[in-house]
């Protein structure tokens, strides 16, 4: 219930916030609503990755691969390239299922490996998938990507047919509904038998196994549920952009989503979602506005010997991955549980007084 309430509030409040005077300068309400729909894609990705990294403690660095698989599934299902025109709504499920299937295919052989090997295997998988979409150009049109994907449609219900390109509102509401469904599913899963098994594996795999948990299938479930959420996001993203191409799904996407989850709080769905929203808005609006703001100050060029710094000419968007990198390192060092931690994670990652004394000793020796 809380989730439905929260999303209803979001649906109303977010667009209204934009009408506040200080935000007016950033753009029209329409720009913002479109931006929120894109942010919703990353919220979906983040709550999905949160299952894998946060709940089960498996580091998946190739998460964008499943995003790509979802998006290309929609492209094959509803585009002139394939000749098919399957409606958007069943394709959401199909995309999620196909992504989950690839999750199982990748996970089944590799999940029995140690955690850090899994990280590198998923990293490799995340590299291979865009390479395959790029090189198998007979089937994917290579670097041009597949264009002209069908738009979602409600077939006249509420008087809405195709969603079109101009009005961002239907996309915003659609992504909110998709998030609501995924969110409540994952939220309920958290406290279920499976959810508790994930936490047990994360904290001590050996102990979990000896308690009778089948660690392989439980981890595989986390992996494929994460992948299917990513697939959902991919289908929605593809339908909104109406184009898919290999360069949309590089490692930077996986890295951005990881930074969102880590910043928000691994293991806390609300935290991951909030982290995704905040990071996305900083990336898409904040840095651009910061650049415009600094430019408007007309700071004179600083000359420090051979180095001259012209603040007005700096494009702050170039700094986004540097900032994410710094954020990851600083969060891990100073606040590993994230900005909005789950209670369990906080107690887990912050040492008890005894442990703290031990680590203080280590630091003194260092």
């Amino acid at each position: 219930m809380t989730i439905v309430l929260a999303l209803a509030i979001t649906a109303v409040a977010l667009p209204l916030i934009v009408l506040l005077p200080p935000l007016n300068g950033f753009g029209t309400q329409r720009d913002f609503v479109g931006g929120f729909a894109d942010a919703g894609v990353f919220v979906l990705l983040a709550i999905g990755l949160n299952v894998v990294v946060g709940f089960a403690g498996l580091l998946d660095l190739g998460y964008a691969a499943f995003f790509a698989i979802g998006a290309y599934t929609y492209a094959y299902g509803a585009s002139p390239f394939s000749g098919l025109d399957i409606p958007f709504w069943p394709m959401l499920l199909v995309g999620a299922l196909v992504a989950a299937m690839f999750g199982v295919l990748l996970g089944a052989p590799t999940l029995r490996l140690r955690g850090d090997y899994l990280a590198i295997v998923t990293l490799g998988f995340g590299e291979i998938v865009p390479v395959v979409f790029l090189n198998a150009d007979t089937y994917t049109r290579g670097t041009n990507g597949i264009t002209g994907l069908s738009q979602p449609s409600l077939y006249g219900i509420f008087g809405i047919n195709g969603f079109g390109f101009t009005d961002p509102w239907p996309y915003f509401l659609t992504v909110l509904i998709v998030i609501a469904v995924a969110f409540s599913f994952l939220y309920r899963l958290q406290d279920s038998r499976v959810g508790r098994a994930w936490v047990a594996i994360r904290e001590d795999e050996l102990a979990a196994a000896s308690m009778g948990i089948n660690t392989i299938t439980t981890k595989l479930l986390a992996f494929s549920i994460g992948a299917s959420t990513s697939g959902l996001a991919g289908v929605f993203y593809a339908s909104k952009l109406s184009i898919v191409s290999p360069d949309q799904f590089g490692f930077t996407v996986s890295f951005t989503v990881l930074a969102m989850v880590v910043l928000g709080g691994m293991g806390n769905i609300w935290g991951a979602a909030a982290g995704a929203f905040i990071v996305y808005e900083i990336q898409s609006q904040g840095l651009k506005q910061l650049g415009a703001f600094v430019q408007s100050l007309h700071v004179p060029t600083l000359a420090l010997g051979p180095v001259s710094v012209n603040l007005g000419a700096i494009d702050f968007i170039n700094f986004q991955y540097l900032l994410y990198g710094l954020a990851l390192v600083l969060m891990m060092l100073l606040r590993p549980e994230g900005l909005f931690p789950s209670r369990r994670r906080r107690s887990e990652l912050h040492a008890t007084p005894d442990d703290a004394a031990d680590s203080a000793d280590v630091l003194v020796q260092a």
């Binding site: 990294v53 403690g57 580091l59 660095l61 052989p109 590799t110 490996l113 955690g115 850090d116 090997y117 990280a119 590198i120 295997v121 990293l123 490799g124 998988f125 590299e127 291979i128 390479v131 395959v132 790029l134 090189n135 490692f251 890295f255 990881l258 880590v262 691994m266 170039n318 700094f319 991955y321 540097l322 994410y324 990198g325 710094l326 954020a327 990851l328 390192v329 891990m332 060092l333 590993p336 887990e348 990652l349 680590s359 280590v362 630091l363 020796q365 260092a366």
Partner: protein, 354 residues
């Protein structure tokens, strides 16, 4: 005491069959390349006409393999001692190539240096500076980012390492260049002939340098007091500490050596390919990591061997006209090795270190 025996005869651990197996593998690799060159439909070469090309590709493979091997050594040493996949290591290689680019262009070089004495002097300077700078960068990263997380849950240092990798990559992206940079190729484009075999000077230089550094590393690890400290820390950190080994210095030293080797690989990258770019470290790092896993992670001989295997895989896939799939081939290899033989080729002998 076994370590004393090993110290006196550092290569004793290598079984007598190893050179035969290696020679056999090289012959097979050569023929695979030769058949690939012959089968190239765009050239229509005769058997005799294909031999020089196959030879050049063979030497190219060894050269590229030497670069991967140098990077892989750093991965395997760090993993051996603190069980961390140092994702930032590929970026150390990239930064090394930029240090040498900066040094050579600042000194005013843009092409080949014909005076041999000057060439040797500049090469020594470039390698010394790049290896020293990157070694220090490696130690600083370990001190600032990894040391505090040594006893943290495993996820924390891994995520930190990814963060460090992005920090290094984007510092270069923002501060130096966001596109491909041309590096001075100061070694002349000379070809040396030894009977039927012709080798480019740069290839010979790279291979000799890489093998020299590897032998030096092997002797350092197996014969010196500090090397023994490194080996004992890798086997059991606490026991080593009780025996009077300074753990922090030893781990810092490991990072220094590993990063210095990656720095050397970065210089070679600039000299051999003549270009560098801010995101070169990501792919190179992944391939070198694959090499380290292939050889048996934690095992320095294995990492060197794995590097050459990856070099051959890459060249063979490009000779067979599938160059754009070479990444997929290498990562597919990584997955297969991890699934079917996670200890790697040489993992059995030193399994307890991995």
């Amino acid at each position: 005491m076994t370590s004393a025996t090993a110290a006196r005869r550092p290569f004793a651990a290598i079984p007598w069959r190893a050179p035969l197996v290696a020679a056999f593998a090289l012959v097979i690799a050569y023929f695979v390349i030769l058949v690939g060159v012959l089968a190239d439909p765009s050239q229509h070469l005769t058997f005799v006409g294909a031999i020089p090309q196959a030879q050049a590709q063979f030497i190219n493979a060894v050269t590229i393999g030497a670069i991967y091997a140098l990077i892989a050594l750093g991965y395997t040493m760090v993993y051996g001692i603190i069980e961390l996949i140092n994702f930032a290591h590929g970026e150390i290689f990239m930064c090394g190539s930029f240090v040498s680019w900066w040094l050579l262009t600042t000194l005013g070089f843009s092409g080949a240096i014909s005076d041999p004495l000057l060439l040797i002097g500049v090469l020594i300077l470039a390698f010394a500076v790049s290896m020293l700078v990157m070694g220090i960068v490696g130690v600083v990263i370990e001190r600032l980012a990894y040391r505090r997380l040594r006893n943290a849950p495993r996820l924390a240092p891994l995520i930190t390492a990814i963060g460090v990798s992005f920090i290094l990559q984007n510092i270069v992206f923002v501060a130096i260049s966001n596109s491909i940079v041309t590096t001075p190729q100061i070694i002349p484009n000379t070809v040396l002939t030894f009977g039927p075999v012709t080798v480019g000077l740069i290839n010979l230089f790279t291979i000799v340098l890489a093998v020299g550094l590897m032998v030096a590393l092997h002797l350092f690890i197996s014969r010196t007091r500090l090397g023994r400290a490194m080996r004992s820390t890798a086997i059991d950190r606490e026991a080593a500490q009780l025996m009077g080994v300074d753990i922090n210095t030893t781990i810092a030293l490991t990072f220094f050596i590993g990063s210095a080797l990656a720095g050397a690989a970065g210089v070679v990258q600039g000299l051999y390919f003549g270009i560098t770019v801010f995101n070169i470290g990501f792919q190179a790092g992944l391939k070198a990591f694959t090499a380290a896993v292939l050889g048996g992670i934690g095992n320095t001989t294995g990492a060197a061997l794995g590097g050459f295997v990856i070099g051959f895989l890459e060249v063979i896939s490009s000779v067979w006209g599938q160059g754009r799939w070479s990444e997929a081939v290498v990562f597919g290899m990584l997955v297969l090795v991890l699934v079917f033989r996670p200890t790697g080729i040489l993992g059995q002998q030193l399994g307890d270190r991995a």
